[in-house]
Symmetry: C2
């Protein structure tokens, strides 16, 4: 029921995703009176779907705490998460209120042992492919322990998505020299370097301009900075696209050039299309949840569902679990005050 | 003596700037044996310059505290700042070690009354022109009081650079709704809204993607996030430029199109040229200091000198002083615990 366009766009996106992955079964949770008419236009999807009716929906502008109080147990968001909890679904996908989704997912699915706070990971397009960047907005601030947990979870996600044995992990900082940056980032870097965890290769500090260069498979930062970096990159891409459009329409020669190079421009537009990488992965929960952009169209929603499919298919959840166990074992073997509360 | 290319590039940049502003007088501080030979190739510049000789220079990789200890009183960086302090120069421009420059500038020039920590402001290119963004890396973390000081100083800079009476000021945050974000940012927003300062119009929260849209004349954030946002934007611009180059050379049609649209591409390249906006402005010091990118070429150095020229010409320093006085008066008139230490 969420997102800027409601169930119609989610159904249309599911229909696109089903063509790519005909083995998906959908549980569509929401107001049946609004879902049924749009579903009727997609007979194949209707066949692969069951509808779980509820009239309660979280509003896009509702405060997380209020949504939790008002709609826990009966909203479409809650019921979708509950289906994951009850193993009736492998992944929950939502285009709804991010804060409410995070609050409800944490309440419904609980965090994994040793994880205090969940995170949101984004797949960041780079000149070499993609990187996992986290946290892009689940929570604000991070101590050493949380940064290390982010590194471990992000590496597990990268292993699944990029099929790399030991993903390169960098910590986002304001300088690459060891002397710079904030205390927590320095402490996390020291731990990751010394621990030499089996599931990841610690690269060191990276700066904002390394993100688009794909210097690392995984870039770790706390949620405030991560969210601002992500949106700054999106905004810069939009800004340059506007410059490009304006430059290509200004003179007759440019317009002729544009006609010749149209195929190249189309390829470029597709490469820069933010819908291709739609979907934030919630990490650290006992269950997999994907957040689609609220403003996503059918193509964007389908990308989020593709991502959900991969997460289920490659069993992301178990892989993160294993990675965390490794880290925990390591902590037990050595006197490092990591994941301290769980001893 | 600083920067990746040493005195040759700084002299070349000064020469370019002198053509645009023939009334500049330069004091070139550094090793005369290295400056004299390059200066000989620029007779007009040589006429407009005096050389202040010193053999001591801050190294690019030196820790700020070490640079301060080792080279205070006799390095080229110190002597340039000291010339500003003694009113022998209006502005100091350096391409050297940023951390050392900030430490030495703070030590030599001292902060303005009511300012605890200086800041670095960048001119951020937007689809509508430019915005002032600060702090882009002078210090990490900021409480309410420092964020308000950044807003006041940034607005004063915007007034000088953009010639706007009451620049629109936004606070960078992870969401535009009042409920989101960190406590300090919320508190600063509340103060700016209620204080309704004479020198600025408080716009509210802005997100990372608003930066490139030029939603505000001034965007305020603490130095860690600001530095990462700035570098992320630079990296994204470079990334898209790489995509574009690759797209335009892939097929014959694209190459033909490129030839036709060459003028447009050149205009675009110039628009995206990071050298055009080279120069971070140090704010909050009793004197004006401009930091040029260490890797800047002559065009970049000239941009930094242009900026320095404007700062001196429009008396930025006095205008910031006035704005801070206004804020201080306001604080005295009302029981708001802002700029608390200076009462």
């Amino acid at each position: 029921m969420g997102g800027d366009h409601g169930p119609a766009m989610l159904v249309a996106g599911a229909s696109v995703a089903l063509v790519r992955h005909p083995d998906i079964k959908f549980v569509l949770v929401g107001d049946e009176r609004r879902i049924a008419p749009v579903l009727a236009a997609h007979p194949k999807l209707a066949e692969a779907s069951s509808v779980r009716h509820t009239e309660v929906a979280v509003r896009m502008d509702e405060r997380p705490s209020q949504a939790l109080r008002r709609t826990r147990r009966d909203s479409s968001m809650w019921l979708a998460l509950d289906a994951v909890k009850r193993d009736e679904a492998d992944v929950a996908v939502s285009a709804g209120n991010t804060g409410a989704l995070m609050a409800m997912a944490t309440f419904c699915l609980r965090t994994m042992a040793d994880i205090d706070r969940p995170a949101i990971a984004a797949l960041w397009p780079t000149v070499r492919g993609e990187s996992v960047v986290l946290d892009v907005g689940a929570s604000i601030g991070a101590d050493e322990r949380h940064l290390v947990a982010l590194a471990v979870m992000g590496a597990a996600l990268a292993r699944v998505v990029f099929d790399v044995e030991r993903p390169r992990v960098g910590l986002l900082n304001v300088g690459t020299e060891e002397i710079k940056g904030i205390e927590q980032v320095k402490a996390a870097g020291k731990f990751l370097r010394e621990a030499d965890l089996p599931g990841l290769h610690y690269h060191g500090f990276v700066e904002g301009d390394d993100l688009g260069q794909g210097v690392c498979d995984v870039v770790v930062t706390e949620g405030f900075t991560g969210n601002i970096a992500l949106k700054t990159a999106e905004g810069t891409a939009r800004q340059i696209a506007a410059y490009l459009r304006s430059a290509m329409s200004r003179t007759l020669m440019a317009r002729i050039g544009y006609l010749f190079a149209r195929g190249a421009f189309d390829a470029l537009r597709e490469k820069m299309d933010p819908r291709r990488v739609n979907g934030g992965v919630f990490l650290g929960l006992d269950g997999v949840v994907i957040k689609s952009h609220g403003g996503a169209d059918a193509v964007g929603v389908a990308s989020a569902i593709d991502l959900a499919y991969d997460m289920a298919h490659f069993d992301l959840h178990a892989k993160i679990r294993d990675s965390l166990d490794h880290t925990l074992l390591l902590r037990r073997a050595r006197p490092i005050p990591l994941v301290a509360g769980a001893a």
